[in-house]
Symmetry: C2
Subunit: 366 residues, 2 copies
């Protein structure tokens, strides 16, 4: 079977502006199509929680492409990762040679709340599980509020060098802790913000990658783990078990170990999520994620969430998984400008949905 | 790469009853799970236009399965075909061994109307394009209303032997023409009816097929063609061009010719659609589809739409493509009871979305 690579990637700036969903999908697609012979594309997948129908085909028409494969993929916050996995499999299977995957969302997305999960009672907002995870972790490992908020300070500061970020500004853990207290365990700036945004990547077989670029980034593995839809049903509250399992599978499939990771984008929907994610990805031991984030912050390392993650960049749900991959693509090609991690060869993305009830991990190499 | 087969299939009766979407998804899944060791399943895909999110993962939890792959696929009326194609590619690529694909819809589905297509002006209902296709075909080939309605008479009559059909009754073209006149070219019974329904199939690699059954049905090919989202933009009004292209690709991939087809399920959203589909599938010359339907009707043949098609069975959008495949599975295994086509070895499904702007064709063999 062919190797599968990323031949091109691009995205638009994330904003709070509400425009038609097909317009922002097209704007993201154009960042790739401008410099490309679009006849190589024989699939178009859209990733979104938006309720408009037939968006894959609508985007195909807007792009002037008549693909052999097109549909929309949805799995809440993790939709983008699922669309990438689907494109990967369509290419690996030989059904397609090159698939344009575009994710988009608007600020008022219906994907933010999982009404089906009755375990949350009247607490439907993600703030609910963000608070429980934060409180549980702090108790288990005796971590301070300031430790947690260091993640947000790091990521908002990193986003200052990301021109596509919703907002970004250099700040300290103290600044985060002075933002509005949302719950006993969460300040406003510890929480990612739903926004408008769209991101695009072109996933291709080896031959097509080589016709498009001399410098493709290869997807070595991609793996999802689904535990439940109900928050906490099959996991504890102090780790993201689904991410750990997906990472083990993805590392095995890619034949890497976690110490080989040069740069990673993790799903920091809340500050605590980055702490848990670096642990699940085996970058540090369980309980050491906060100390690790502190080290990254004080050394101004860009290894984890160089674009500012979801906290710094904003969270357009269906675009988020794609935008993580866009960042890794740029990092591994040395095109991340002010955000560049030196000599990045191996990159990883970790996405998740609905309180980490499912996760997806992918490994990319230059 | 492994062969890909259908190891099991089932569905619930289509009705006009509105129940929670996850309940009917689960009811369809249970028709398969009852007799199965569910540990073989490592993927769950849902096909629907319903606006509830995370249904793939919700269904996974309801089934007690923790899959490696789960998401929802949407592409209007053709969602089911796309979900099957996605499952096929995930298995072919080696990312999964066995994927449960479940499609479901409720009567008030938002998938019936494509608001984006401004070419339709205020005529958003599918009746609009159904009328234009009917009128165009009648003019082009000088076909009578009675010829068109023969398709509906055939399919409603066939549905009388389908216990899962929304309704089915033996009737004549005259009965169809006495039903309410919806437009100058369409009677009520020439139009399929959106309804509640859910269908499920288990798509597996060759090894898993053999552990589940001695009698798998093999998917020899699956191919989609997307022309546009706008009705009529890249095709004439007297044929379904996307179906013709998808069929050519699918036959080539399966190495079959149309005369090898023993049984077929086509997307008869309106009577005219079956006429056009049999032409697009090369079962008859262009212009001969109505005469062919007449022959099938008078000889009581079950070769085309043996379950009664969409006209006879009802049209739960996200389930429709799956239910077509369920019928072919049963036909090729000789389990279609009163609807059985004798000695069926090669079966075909043809689905489409949004006035035939995209189509999907699959070839199955015993």
């Amino acid at each position: 079977m062919t190797d599968v690579g990323i031949a091109a990637a691009g995205q638009i700036k994330f904003t709070m502006e509400s425009r038609p969903i097909h317009d922002i999908l097209f704007d993201a697609a154009r960042t790739i199509l401008t410099d490309l012979d679009s006849t190589v594309i024989d699939g178009i997948l859209v990733s979104t929680n938006d309720t408009h129908r037939y968006l894959g085909v609508i985007l195909s028409e807007m792009c002037g492409i008549q693909p052999r494969i097109s549909h929309t993929v949805e799995s809440m916050c993790g939709s983008g990762g699922n669309a990438i996995m689907s494109a990967y499999s369509h290419i690996k299977s030989g059904l397609a040679r090159s698939i344009l995957v575009v994710g988009a969302e608007l600020p008022n997305s219906p994907g933010g709340i999982l009404k089906w999960d009755m375990s949350r009672g009247q607490f439907q907002s993600p703030i609910y599980w963000g608070s429980i995870l934060t409180k549980s972790y702090k108790r288990r490992y005796d971590i301070s509020d300031e430790s947690v908020s260091t993640v947000a300070a790091k990521n908002h500061s990193l986003a200052a060098d990301n021109p596509d970020a919703l907002y970004g500004y250099r700040c300290t853990p103290g600044d985060i802790m002075q933002s509005k207290e949302i719950t006993a365990d969460l300040h406003l700036l510890d929480c990612s913000r739903a926004c408008a945004g769209a991101s695009a990547i072109l996933i291709s077989d080896a031959d097509t990658c080589r016709t498009v670029t001399d410098d493709a980034v290869w997807i070595r593995s991609i793996s999802q783990c689904v535990l439940s839809a109900t928050f906490g049903r099959y996991s504890t509250y102090d780790r993201i078990e689904s991410a750990g399992r997906a990472a083990r599978d993805a590392y095995k499939m890619a034949d890497i170990t976690s110490d080989m990771i040069d740069v990673v984008e993790v799903h920091d929907a809340f500050s605590i999520c980055e702490i848990m994610a670096t642990e699940s990805l085996q970058m540090v031991e369980y309980g050491q994620g906060a100390a690790y984030a502190h080290d990254l912050y004080v050394t101004e390392s860009r290894k984890v969430n160089p674009r500012g993650g979801i906290l710094g960049s904003g969270h357009p749900l269906g675009a988020t998984g794609i935008s993580q991959m866009v960042e890794i693509f740029r990092q591994l090609r040395g095109e991340a400008k002010d955000r560049q991690v030196p000599d990045a060869y191996t990159g990883v993305t970790q996405g998740m949905s609905a309180a980490g009830t499912s996760s997806l991990v992918a490994v990319m190499q230059r």
